[in-house]
Symmetry: C3
Subunit: 219 residues, 3 copies
Amino acid sequence: MTSLDRDGEVWILDLGDGDNRFDPTTVDEVGAALDQVAASEAPAALVTTASGKIWSNGLDLDHLSAAGEGWVDYVQSVQALFARLLRLPVPTVAAIQGHAFAAGAMCALAHDVRVMRADRGYICLPEVDLGMPFSDGMVALISGSLAPAALHRMAVLGERIPGPEAVALGVADAAVPLDQVRDEAVGRATALAGKAGPTLATLRRTFHGRAIDLLDPPG
Amino acid sequence: MTSLDRDGEVWILDLGDGDNRFDPTTVDEVGAALDQVAASEAPAALVTTASGKIWSNGLDLDHLSAAGEGWVDYVQSVQALFARLLRLPVPTVAAIQGHAFAAGAMCALAHDVRVMRADRGYICLPEVDLGMPFSDGMVALISGSLAPAALHRMAVLGERIPGPEAVALGVADAAVPLDQVRDEAVGRATALAGKAGPTLATLRRTFHGRAIDLLDPPG
Amino acid sequence: MTSLDRDGEVWILDLGDGDNRFDPTTVDEVGAALDQVAASEAPAALVTTASGKIWSNGLDLDHLSAAGEGWVDYVQSVQALFARLLRLPVPTVAAIQGHAFAAGAMCALAHDVRVMRADRGYICLPEVDLGMPFSDGMVALISGSLAPAALHRMAVLGERIPGPEAVALGVADAAVPLDQVRDEAVGRATALAGKAGPTLATLRRTFHGRAIDLLDPPG
């Protein structure tokens, strides 16, 4: 169960207190939240967070295996959320208070800024261990977000990266104690709120346009 | 008013002591200076510096808005300077003693090495705040110079990056006290002067050829 | 004279105790070793090391200049080794106990992990000093392995990078005292051995497919 609240100029999207996978209900709720954020007047910014040990564990694998041929549409619906984050005319900050795995990590990479917990919690793309490939859109998102060394360690070797190392690798922007993750993220979002507007969306398209189009093909 | 002097094997191009925007006179002067440097015999290297608080603030916005339809040619003339820097068969070092903003920052990125002032001075691409897009050539130059994390913070979010952080992000190669910026740059240029020659230009084309062609289309 | 030994799940390929250039005999021996490693059952991993002051100095320049028109096939045979490393369904760790220059450095970049000696030894692409260009396959390998700042310093300026700086630049993963280089590499290889399998090869192709195809064109 997700929620969307407002704290001054900053929208707070809470992904929940479980393992916060992108099941179909969550996809709908997050989509509706992004609609509301996109329609808000500038200045504005978005912080995406959660409670508990997990930020998001990614795809709902139970739903995926039960979906039959519908799995393509399901994966597509999750990818479309990443594209919508990249199209949002509002700065976005992921307040990653716990683990961000697989599509959860990719969702974090689709934000402008990532604040991680310093003492625990990993960002990880475990596809090599799961025997899963990446879609073309995921490849474009990952390639556009991670420098070669970070990309190889995360996306090829599936290494679990803790917060401080994520900062050193350019995967995250800050790693702070758990009780400061949300404040740090809200502070950064507040500082960025004045940048909301169509130019922000244009610049994201300039540098991540291929990812946007592959994650959510037009037409 | 720019000047070009020689200190042993190292050419010193001084962009001035004002805000050192690339007005049409400056474009002509810098172009003539690069011609002279390109024609010099190896070993040789170029240091581009300035005095005062600003290295370069970029395009001359007054000229830009007064140029009418001539704005395209004007922007093109500035971009062509960046391409000429990338084609120069001589190592290039930017001695950034102050702010490098917008096209000033891009000019710095077109050098082989960047030395910044450690205590003050920002390198910044404020296009998101100005509501300005980047041209295709600028996008290629920026994308070829900055790793994803630095690119997002600078070119999408328009963050002002001080010297030490620029070094940490791979945006600059050194950050030193103001009174050492020029010496540090000249020292690095002297060490690189022996690399002048056609292979240097070939290797820049190998890795930055798309930027060169888009910044200064052939034909 | 190379050798291939096995230490538990980890294969140890030793490139020799000379300057370990890729002369035709070495190319054949390394190729046969990679065949054997590729055919081994998971879990498995490969450590490539050497003894003496040099890990590998790259192409055999004597053979290159004596080869006449055969130089193309010779260079191609070395490049094909890099492609085979990238196709190997087994994690690969370069234990770089000394210098890795030119094609030696490229061979190191074709491994998943690089452990360097901390106090001595450089990784270096001296092509600018040799007046040599890179082939398209080499360009793709280098561009896919190095972030822009590291790429410019190594591949354009030909800078010699010692171990600790290589780690800071994302060129290497660890720099340790000489007597720990092999143990560190074997430890990392052992930890990665469980990732051997077709998905690893698929993921390398996903992110380095262009390099693989240009280094060893199909057909």
